[in-house]
């Protein structure tokens, strides 16, 4: 994601400390870590395990359970394309496949220039405007192949 900070143990510890007053702080911490650094670095997982007093394996298990958390940096921009049933009823699957083929990517892949990561998402709650997508957090309804191409071009600049 654009504008992610360089990882530092010190910053990770600050983020963790800021959430330790919460009941069950792990998920809010993980979201805050990913927001700050763009991903969840192994070093941060280690810091979290220590702070939460659980094993690293256990902490690692939490991170890997959730589709949203990734353990390596993503592209500068993220496009999530919906592939759930409602969007499929409007041809989303074929459209997404063609788009991925054009970029020579598979789901979850990042373009070689590091500009764009394309991920699947299973419903955005925009099912009356299928097919839908989310580009860097911005919702897009009735997305067509032209719009997808525009996004790929926009991401490159």
């Amino acid at each position: 994601m654009a504008g992610a900070a360089q990882y530092s143990d010190e910053r990770a510890r600050e983020i963790i400390a800021a959430h330790m007053g919460l009941e069950g702080p792990a998920m809010p911490i993980l979201h805050a870590i990913q927001k700050e650094f763009g991903y969840v670095p192994d070093a941060a997982v280690k810091q979290m395990a220590e702070a939460l007093n659980i094993s690293r394996a256990e902490m690692h298990g939490v991170v890997t359970f959730y589709h949203d958390f990734h353990r390596a940096p993503h592209g500068r921009h993220t496009l999530k394309i919906c592939r759930a049933e409602s969007c499929q009823s409007m041809g989303a699957e074929r459209q997404a496949r063609a788009f991925l083929d054009k970029l020579k990517l598979d789901w979850g892949g990042t373009t070689p220039d590091g500009a764009l990561t394309v991920e699947p998402v299973y419903c955005l709650g925009l099912c009356a405007h299928s097919p839908s997508a989310l580009y860097d957090g911005e919702p897009i309804g009735c997305v067509d192949s032209e719009r997808l191409d525009e996004i790929a071009a926009e991401a490159r600049d």
Binding site: H31, E85, C127, A128
Partner: protein, 516 residues
């Protein structure tokens, strides 16, 4: 000063509402028109989004779907006074789509400024809570039970019974948890109410906390809803400032706080025990029941967990009384259901109606058939774990029991319409694939069965030993149905079996082609 409404609803924004609002503000300034823009929730006529509304003496006049390029012509035509224009849909409340509904849960959604406590109160807000304070906790539980309200999250469990279980636990730390994970394809009602009328959810949680003796509430929201997160967080803060959250609420002696938590893209975390694990900061692995969350819930404490719609309907039940609600509906499905009409439809949106309306009426009359203009072939009702219903069953009424009798479910009330180009063996394969992707991994039938299901359907689609593989697939579905701990593995067979039952020709395509 003219009052103009432009929704902040995510679907409206996905169709350009933010840019539209900016353009309207700019154009008004350039023309020296003094206007106030209110970012409201959506009225639910989603095919008209972004829908601009202007307040006129005759009522609110709507213009939609409006694009930035329409702004100048809207001003030219005099839309601020409700004048004629190609996009004019007339008085919004008089629109046939609105008139045919019975808005109970959604009565304020799209009407008020979602973040104005004053408007919420002017539209009967907090009356239910005030009445709860008057009658006392036990009477609230009684009232909710009598209303016949059943959980809108999918399972349809009676809400009053759940509350009573928690209320009957000895005093001490208890929790109210709201399930805003809304993962089902074809559903968006939780999203809409939280964007359009967030105080109704907060009021519902307050009433629940008061009734069961809990002082803390959590809302677990899926991460795919960034606008809800913003609006709801602002609503919590606003409610605090107005004295509707915090200590000794309005002099009642009752303390209550609400905290918003964000999920991380796991569908299974909508299952209540998986959700609790996630809130506790763990992997979202489903817990075996018993113990019920009502006895041993969040952090081991007695916990009410309800869907957003169930909770947001409570204020109205307390305000108007159980009977008012229980008088609506059919059989054991009391009250109203906010249906979500989606997929390949002409008119998609939120349509709240008494239980009992036939499915075909919703699809053909309300939704206006397909957007593609082709014939309807199937409707998936109740999300990814719901059955595909063929047109021959269109007289099925929206009613929990009627659907169950046909091995189908209503779930959270989503209807996804498909036209005749749909390939049902592909949709069955997708159902299995989705289960494999989202399985929490605790049980073998769900974790491995779903992957075996994908492989088997692939073979069928390739025309390999079709008859034998269909039998294998049916066996697999049976094993998953009866050998899974939760409804992800247990109901994933519904779409597959219904596709096999109602659309067998789609599983024999290679054979048919070979025979030709």
């Amino acid at each position: 000063m003219a009052k103009v409404y432009i929704p902040l609803d995510m679907a409206a924004v996905a169709m350009g509402a933010d840019k539209l609002a900016a353009a309207v503000a700019k154009e008004a300034a350039a023309r020296g028109e003094n206007i106030e823009i209110v970012r409201n929730g959506s009225r639910g006529m989603l095919w008209l989004e972004p829908l601009i509304e202007v307040e006129t003496p005759a009522g609110r006049v709507g213009y939609g779907p409006a694009k930035v390029k329409d702004v100048a012509s809207l001003f030219d035509a005099g839309f601020l006074a409700g004048a004629a224009h190609a996009l004019n849909i007339g008085i919004v409340d008089e629109h046939p789509w609105m008139k045919k509904q019975n808005r109970v849960t959604f009565v304020r959604c799209g009407v008020i400024d979602p973040l104005s406590v004053a408007e919420y109160e002017a539209h009967n807000g907090f009356k239910g809570l005030k009445r709860a304070f008057e009658v006392g906790p036990a009477a609230v539980v009684e009232e909710v039970t009598k209303s016949g309200l059943r959980g809108r999250g999918g399972a349809g469990f009676p809400t009053g019974i759940k509350w009573k279980t928690v209320a009957d636990c000895p005093p001490g730390q208890k929790y109210v948890v709201v399930n805003a994970d809304e993962g089902d394809s074809g559903t968006f009602a939780d999203r809409m109410i939280m964007e359009g009328d967030p105080f109704s959810l907060i009021e519902g949680m307050l009433i629940c906390g008061y009734a069961v003796g809990a002082s803390k509430g959590y809302v677990y929201l899926r991460s795919e809803y960034p606008i809800v997160a913003k609006v709801f967080q602002a609503a919590i803060e606003t409610a605090h400032e107005a004295g509707w959250l915090g200590k000794d609420i309005k002099g009642s002696g009752f303390d209550f706080d609400v905290e918003l938590r964000i999920g991380a893209g796991a569908y299974v975390c909508g299952e209540e025990t998986s959700l609790l694990e996630s809130l506790e900061g763990k992997r979202g692995i489903v817990r075996a029941k018993p113990p019920l969350p009502a006895h041993v819930g969040l952090f081991g404490k007695p916990t009410v967990i309800n869907n957003v719609l169930s909770m947001a309907t409570i204020p109205m039940i307390m305000e108007k009384g159980a009977k008012h609600y229980a008088d609506l509906g059919v059989g054991r499905s009391r009250g109203t259901m906010p249906l979500q009409i989606a997929g390949n439809v002409k008119y998609g949106g939120l349509f709240e109606t008494d239980f009992g309306i036939p499915l075909g009426v919703v699809v053909n009359e309300i939704a206006g058939g397909t957007r593609s203009g082709r014939p309807v072939r199937a409707v998936q009702v109740g999300g990814p774990l719901g059955a595909y219903v063929p047109v021959s069953l269109f007289d099925l009424p929206i009613d929990y029991e009627a659907f169950a009798a046909k091995d189908s479910l209503i779930g959270h009330g989503g209807l996804v319409v498909f036209d005749d180009t749909v390939d049902m063996s592909w949709m069955a394969r997708f159902g299995m694939e989705f289960c494999a992707i989202e399985s929490c991994g605790k049980c073998t039938p769900c974790r491995l069965g779903s992957t075996r299901g994908v492989e088997t359907i692939d073979k069928i689609r390739d025309g390999l030993n079709v008859a034998a593989n269909i039998e294998l697939l049916k066996d697999l579905c049976h094993t998953m149905r009866f050998g899974s701990l939760c409804a992800l593995g247990g109901f994933a067979p519904y779409p597959v079996e219904s596709a096999l039952r109602h659309f067998p020709e789609d599983f024999r395509k290679p054979a048919l082609e070979a025979a030709e």
